[in-house]
């Protein structure tokens, strides 16, 4: 494969690559602010400047500069090589690039860093980006000196509300234009642009508009400093207390790969971030998915319910066993959960097979908004997985309601909170007896005889099959909240109580409780693309 030399290393590159892109792919870091692998090249931060040695036989391009000599107390004319931005310079075979080994590059980086911090407010103690801020990291590594300016820094608007999700701080902004380019190129909604020039530069909204498209939280993700902050995460948690679990978003059938950031001390999830996966979601996630983590802590069923009253898990299981044993198998309807993992659904299918259940329906959220960027109309992560396990389409939910009213079904064994239906929220209160394993309250759990609390997707490892048919595994982050447990464990307890063998995990990935590196992403498992 074609290679070029970066410092003393040989780096492979693909045709069309720039120096920075090839280095990024090889895992070598050239400091940068405004470049992003998923966006176009702007080359306005000038932090990635590198020295390009000229091809043999040609002289290097030099610039005339003046250097202050403290002994002679005057300026001396000198020449220094012209440095090129690595994000813009395309790579050729045999190119020689100096990044760390060049003194000019080090001086350039120190100078850029000094200028970027010149008017920067002393906000680290209150800035959410502290701990994952490039200004902090690059200052320590590349400049580590005080700035020479003695004037008052420029003051600009702070805490400008851009929209329902994003707050902008103009003083912290380094005007890298990543947010502008993102809104234009990826979200296809050019609502942000620049205003003024020089050190008065700031980001503004288009007149009369708010930052309200479906990918606004991605602007906060791409911002390398704390200029754009999410209202949802602002002042909630410090990032060095958060651990990241590699999960899959369960907001829709796209199955974007995500990091779930949680604090292990109080077992709370604070945010999602996208995880890079070139085939599924690239570098991005939609707002609905990013905010989906709130469902983990709100409106949860955390205790078992028997006839609507709190009970212990063992009494709920006893009641469920009594119901299941007392009903002929032809009259039991099973409901698989399109929001639940492969392992949970496989366990329920197994129990159904032991009991002789043949009628299978599906629970899940109704269809929602779709677009051609990332959002899929099917708002359930595992619909394809359910079909794969079942081997066929589940029957339509209206058939179940009719069957319960007519008497051909007496008992429903359900995984999920509401039956899937094309219109609205699912059918109104359902007659008949029900045993429901669910995370949230819903039409299925209302008035059910037995409700067993299921844990959310971050509390147990599992795998989900997305709309393209790719099975992706998701790690567990926090311990199950309250009394909840993974559905496959609850079904296993039911099997044991009924005297059946325990369910076998389905063949596929990600079925161990301990965190294993999911095999679905392209190899950049630890890298976040911000």
């Amino acid at each position: 494969m074609a290679t070029f030399k970066l410092d003393d290393q040989d780096i492979e590159f693909l045709p069309g690559d720039t120096i920075l892109k090839a280095a990024h792919r090889a895992g070598v870091d050239i400091p940068h602010y405004c470049w992003h692998p998923g966006l176009s090249v702007a080359a306005n931060c000038r932090m990635c400047l590198v020295e390009l040695l000229p091809p043999p036989g040609r002289a290097a391009l030099k610039l005339d500069v003046l250097r202050w000599d403290p002994e002679q107390k005057s300026y001396i004319k000198e020449q220094k090589p012209k440095l090129v931005p690595a994000c813009q310079q395309s790579v050729g075979e045999g190119m020689q690039v100096l990044s760390q080994n060049s003194e000019h590059v080090q001086k350039a980086r120190a100078a850029v860093q000094e200028l970027l911090l010149l008017n920067h407010p002393v906000d680290c103690p209150i800035c959410d980006q502290a701990g994952e801020c490039r200004l902090q990291d690059y200052w320590l590594n590349h400049q580590h000196e005080k700035k020479r300016m003695r004037d008052e820094p420029v003051h600009k608007p702070k805490a400008v509300v851009f929209g329902p999700t994003i707050v902008y701080d103009a003083e912290r902004c380094i005007v890298c234009t990543r947010c502008v380019r993102f809104c234009e190129e990826v979200a296809k909604d050019p609502v942000l642009s620049l205003r003024e020039r020089g050190n008065q530069n700031e980001i503004v909204l288009a007149p009369g508009r708010q930052l309200d498209h479906d990918y606004t939280l991605m602007t906060e993700l791409v911002c390398p400093v704390g200029a754009l902050t999410a209202q949802d995460f602002r002042f909630k948690a410090r990032v060095w207390f958060l651990r990241s679990a590699r999960t899959v978003c369960v907001g829709c059938a796209t199955g974007c790969n995500a990091y779930t950031d949680y604090d292990p001390r109080n077992q709370q999830v604070y945010r999602h971030r996208p995880r890079e996966n070139p085939t599924v979601n690239g570098y991005w996630m939609c707002d609905a998915g990013m905010l989906d983590y709130q469902r983990i802590h709100h409106h949860r069923i955390l205790k078992a319910l028997v006839d609507g009253k709190s009970a212990s898990r063992s009494s709920a299981l006893d009641r469920a066993v009594a119901l299941l044993s007392g009903t002929p198998s032809g009259k039991i309807a099973g409901v698989l959960g399109a929001e639940y993992s492969q392992r949970d659904n496989a366990a329920l299918l197994w129990l159904g097979k032991q009991l002789g259940i043949e009628a299978w329906f599906e629970s899940g959220r109704p269809d929602g908004k779709a677009d051609d960027i990332l959002m899929h109309a099917d708002k359930n992560p595992n619909s394809a997985g359910v079909r794969r396990l079942l081997g066929s389409e589940p029957r339509p939910s209206s058939e179940l309601v009719q069957g319960l009213e007519a008497g051909s079904f007496e008992l429903v064994l359900a995984l999920g909170s509401s039956l899937k239906s094309k219109e609205g929220d699912g059918p109104a209160p359902i007659p008949g007896k029900r045993i429901v394993l669910s995370r949230h309250p819903g039409p299925l759990t209302e008035g059910a005889q037995v409700v067993l609390p299921a844990c959310s997707w971050v509390e147990a490892a599992g795998s989900y099959v997305n709309a393209q048919g790719v099975e992706q595994s998701s790690e567990a982050a926090i311990e199950p909240l309250g009394d909840s447990a993974a559905p496959f464990e609850l079904v296993g307890a039911l099997c044991a109580a009924l005297g059946h063998p325990p369910p076998e995990p389905p063949k596929g990935r990600g079925h161990r409780r301990e965190a294993s590196a999911p095999v679905n992403d392209s190899g950049n498992q630890g890298a976040s693309a911000s």
Binding site: P125, Q136, H144, K147
Partner: protein, 404 residues
């Protein structure tokens, strides 16, 4: 009343002739430090001895892996808690070895003076406690009085008498106070004078000499094989002092002698410590003349040393520097290093393994008194019960260091 044994035949009286197992438990008035000796006695003679340590094990090495490099300083303080400055200096030098930085001369002399003061305190405690355990309470109290004066110096400089956590990677926590040179210059001659008085009480005392001379003899080969270093090794005749053999800080520039014993008995170990106090006083006096009156105490590297609070509150660079050093820790390059200094009891070594992040991967404290205490079994076996006290006292086992 009739004699009780009138009807007993001599052959029916069975006397035990098995060796007696005696427990000199972890809490004992005559052993300073938490160590348990299980001795097997035959009459007064010790036939076997099992030295059991670990009563003060606090898991320092495990705890060091859960913080920053700077957060290790309070832990090493509590290792040899009678001379904590020497531990601080040793660890700081180990970190600086891996970082490749050398502290400014003012800091080097400052560390030397405070370190030697701590060494004097350590040796005073050891000698005084040993005398006290033999029954001489007065010299012990006089030496404690001197130790209080040394601790007054530490309190003035660092804010704490004993566990001050004053060392930092790249310098010290604060520069010397204005009264430092004067105060130390008054304390040291007074200390030597009181030491002379206390020593005169002891070294001509027949009982003291009888209990120490010829007791607990360790030959040089055995001492080296056991890993002994420091005053106990020097008492056995081996002139090995890390300050002379591998000079660090400015020990190569000051003049001092290394006292070496001849017989390797408890008396030699006691006298070596007394003489070392005098040599430490010599070092301190020379350093007081050599320490620069002003100049930086910390090395000028923003990746290692915290900035002034003024800068932290008013400039972004100061904030970032403070933030990175405090939240993420000093980033010591990945690799491993073993750095050694002369602690109160011998070669105090730090074997550090770093993975490049601000958290230590492994901090191994090589405790000199661990190896010295392992020799107690050899010293005491075949000796009499009463010899345990001076033997153990002469080893100066510091529980915090031995058990870390």
């Amino acid at each position: 009343m009739e004699p009780l044994d009138l009807d007993l035949d001599a052959s029916e009286i069975e006397l035990e002739n098995e060796p007696m197992l005696l427990n000199i438990g972890p809490a004992h008035p005559a052993t300073h430090g938490t160590v348990r000796l299980v001795v097997e006695l035959s009459g007064e003679v010790i036939q076997r001895c099992d030295v059991q340590i670990g009563y003060l094990h606090r898991g320092f090495e495990k705890m060091c892996e859960r913080g920053n490099w700077t957060q290790v300083f309070p832990y090493v303080d509590r290792c040899n808690y009678v001379s904590p400055m020497l531990n601080n200096v040793g660890f700081a030098l180990a970190c600086e070895k891996m970082l490749g930085i050398v502290v400014p001369p003012r800091c080097q002399y400052y560390r030397m003076i405070l370190g030697e003061l701590a060494r004097i305190a350590d040796h005073l405690t050891a000698a005084g406690a040993m005398a006290m355990e033999l029954g001489a309470f007065t010299p012990f109290l006089w030496m404690m009085k001197v130790r209080e004066m040394i601790w007054d110096v530490f309190e003035e400089e660092t804010g704490a008498r004993l566990t001050h956590s004053f060392g930092r990677v790249g310098g010290m926590a604060r520069p010397p106070t204005e009264s430092f040179v004067e105060q130390v210059g008054q304390v040291v001659p007074h200390a030597i004078q009181v030491l002379g008085e206390a020593e005169r009480l002891l070294v001509t005392n027949r009982i003291f000499l009888d209990r120490l001379q010829g007791v607990g003899v360790m030959s040089a080969e055995d001492a080296i094989s056991l890993g002994w270093t420091g005053p106990t090794l020097r008492a056995s005749g081996v002139p090995y002092d890390v300050r002379k053999a591998h000079p660090y800080l400015r020990y190569g520039e000051v003049d001092f002698d290394v006292p070496v014993g001849e017989h390797g008995d408890c008396y030699d170990r006691f006298m070596v410590r007394i003489e070392e106090i005098r040599q430490s006083a010599r070092i301190i006096e020379q350093c007081l003349g050599l320490i620069p009156a002003d100049g930086p105490v910390n090395v000028d590297d923003p990746r290692v040393v915290l900035p002034d609070k003024q800068d932290v509150y008013t400039t972004i660079e100061g904030t970032i520097q403070h933030f990175k050093i405090v939240m993420e820790g000093i980033k010591i390059p990945a690799g491993e290093a073993y750095s050694y200094t002369e602690g109160g009891n011998g070669e105090l070594g730090f074997y550090l393994v770093s993975d490049g992040s601000g958290t230590p991967y492994r901090v191994r404290i090589r405790p000199p008194s661990f190896y010295v205490t392992s020799g107690l079994e050899k010293l005491v076996t075949g000796a009499m019960m009463a010899d345990v006290v001076p033997c153990f006292g002469s080893l100066n086992m510091i529980g915090g260091e031995c058990d870390h």
